[in-house]
Symmetry: C2
């Protein structure tokens, strides 16, 4: 499935996954608007099934499989939202999901993926360890490998979030999506450039994982090596399928400091009263830092997910004074 | 304003405050439904203006004032959501709000109230200190005292949340609201008993601040003394106006342990991806602990607010493994 997806693929994906995923709400915040001097429309994929936009691509891939192919199940290597989404969607179709995870993955992640019914294979925590383990699983089971982002069906599914956003808010000046492997951003770019050709498309990327920024400047993929960012969903690098789409359709990649990511995440929790994961806060961080360079004021932001491990947060709020 | 409010007062309050407050959404969660073996409908007052239901009562009180009375402003003693709400609503009407706060109130609270434009008077952190300071402010300014809960206009305003909930979900078996001073619960009870007389009305209260439970058993108000609970909005005790309403209309007060409050709060953040304050989690905590004793399955819960001081939470999530 290496052909480049087109808008028709995204429309078909939208039809295919409609019975399974939420049409997530678009929220606004007066306070954040005034802080950014813009009208911001947040597409809330944190409320999506499985807690992230990833279910769109996973469901589209799984429901695109032929009957015979599907019976053998699906496989992937991932320790995050794609694995959980693939496991959930496989359950909907009644087929098996095989997930290769590094042995040092957090227990909460293993439990989430296992909770959706996937069969987990642990492997060494190296790229080679993952790929070897995945190949063994695929050879043994005949399962279809569903790559987290470098897959036409996955990209087409991810593009359906922006399709809904443009339908809800038709005349946006710009759309900002976070960029890691580029599945969400490339799907967003195909969707927005087709249905709202006047709207500019931006990627937002952590300074500490700036492979998309550097790759676009260099004109070839330059992966990040062991990037260190709180935005854990964005540590991966562009793939051979996502890179050329982004190169062609995305106006600019905005870089965001760790401090601005944390600040934006806290603002979203505090002001909008919604839980988002760090990766989701990167576009708002970009807007807070770069708003003066943005043309126009009506900006769509894709809040990619809300899967935060709350066990890492301290919950001691006992020492607050009495209130009414 | 010591007369007992009736359903007509709540309908009038709803009309009066409609231009100013949100009709908040009602959310559901498949996971929480299956954990509780019930269909739960969460009325999300955490998304309300000022971050809590308190703006309903405050706005109703302020827009009920005659022109001459209003010009002198409003006053209250509070360090929490009522103070912020009163300040915000006073700004809408273009009048002054005077707020008496204990000198040891957290800076974040003082800033929130000041941010809405109120004039703050600091006082000693005792009931007597507050009351003396309030009396001095009222004598000096002629401002109208708006009690946080023992006020017909305030109770009527708070009842509008349940009115909307019953309108959105007409055939609830039960409604659960948290109970502190009883403004929300008594307003809820008047609204629900009038528009959905078959629906049972429950209060949910921390075990560690169980004055409503004890007062109903004793048949007279028995205040809590220095209650120690994470649900900081529920540390106050019933008042002379709220007690008889609750006595007459509320089916049962459910007590909830601190552990169950924390567990319910975390579940709401994790599963629903929304930020609620500890007081908001008390009804779900009750449902998780007492579900076997509840008649029927279709339960409305009022999530009272989302004002949590996130500076008390640790934000170090750097040490998570790479994901996709």
């Amino acid at each position: 499935m290496a052909s480049r997806p087109a808008i028709q693929d995204i429309h078909e994906a939208a039809e295919r996954i409609r019975p399974w995923v939420h049409r997530t709400p678009v929220l606004t915040s007066t306070t954040l608007n005034s802080m950014c001097d813009a009208d911001i429309f947040f597409k809330c994929e944190n409320f999506q099934k499985s807690g992230a936009f990833k279910i769109r691509g996973a469901a589209n891939a799984i429901f695109s499989l032929g009957e015979k192919e599907a019976l053998k199940g699906v496989a992937t290597h991932s320790s995050g939202n794609h694995a959980a989404a693939l496991a959930l969607a496989a359950g909907w179709r009644g087929i098996k999901a095989y997930v290769v995870m590094p042995e040092n993955a957090p227990l909460v992640k293993k439990e989430a993926v296992a909770g959706y019914g996937a069969e987990i294979t642990l492997c060494e925590s190296t790229l080679q360890g993952r790929e070897t383990a995945l190949m063994q699983v695929v050879n043994r089971t005949g399962a279809s490998f569903i790559h987290p982002y470098n897959d036409t069906r996955v990209i087409s599914g991810q593009g359906t979030a922006a399709l809904e956003l443009c339908d809800s808010v038709p005349d946006l000046d710009g759309v900002i999506a976070p960029v890691g492997g580029g599945g969400l951003l490339s799907g967003t770019a195909i969707a927005v450039s087709a249905v709202a050709p006047e709207t500019l498309i931006f990627g937002a990327e952590p300074e500490n994982a700036d492979d998309a920024y550097r790759s676009l400047r260099a004109g070839r993929i330059i992966p990040s090596e062991n990037p260190d960012t709180i935005a854990d969903g964005l540590r991966t690098s562009l793939g051979g399928l996502t890179f050329p789409i982004i190169q062609k359709l995305v106006h600019h990649i905005m870089l965001v400091s760790e401090e601005d990511i944390r600040r934006a995440m806290r603002l979203i929790w505090e002001r909008m009263k919604i839980v988002v994961e760090p990766s989701s806060a990167v576009p708002l961080g970009a807007l807070l830092a770069h708003r003066q360079t943005l043309p126009g004021k009506k900006i769509g932001i894709i809040l990619s997910g809300g899967n935060v491990d709350l066990s890492t947060l301290s919950w001691d709020m006992k020492n607050r004074t009495t209130q009414q």
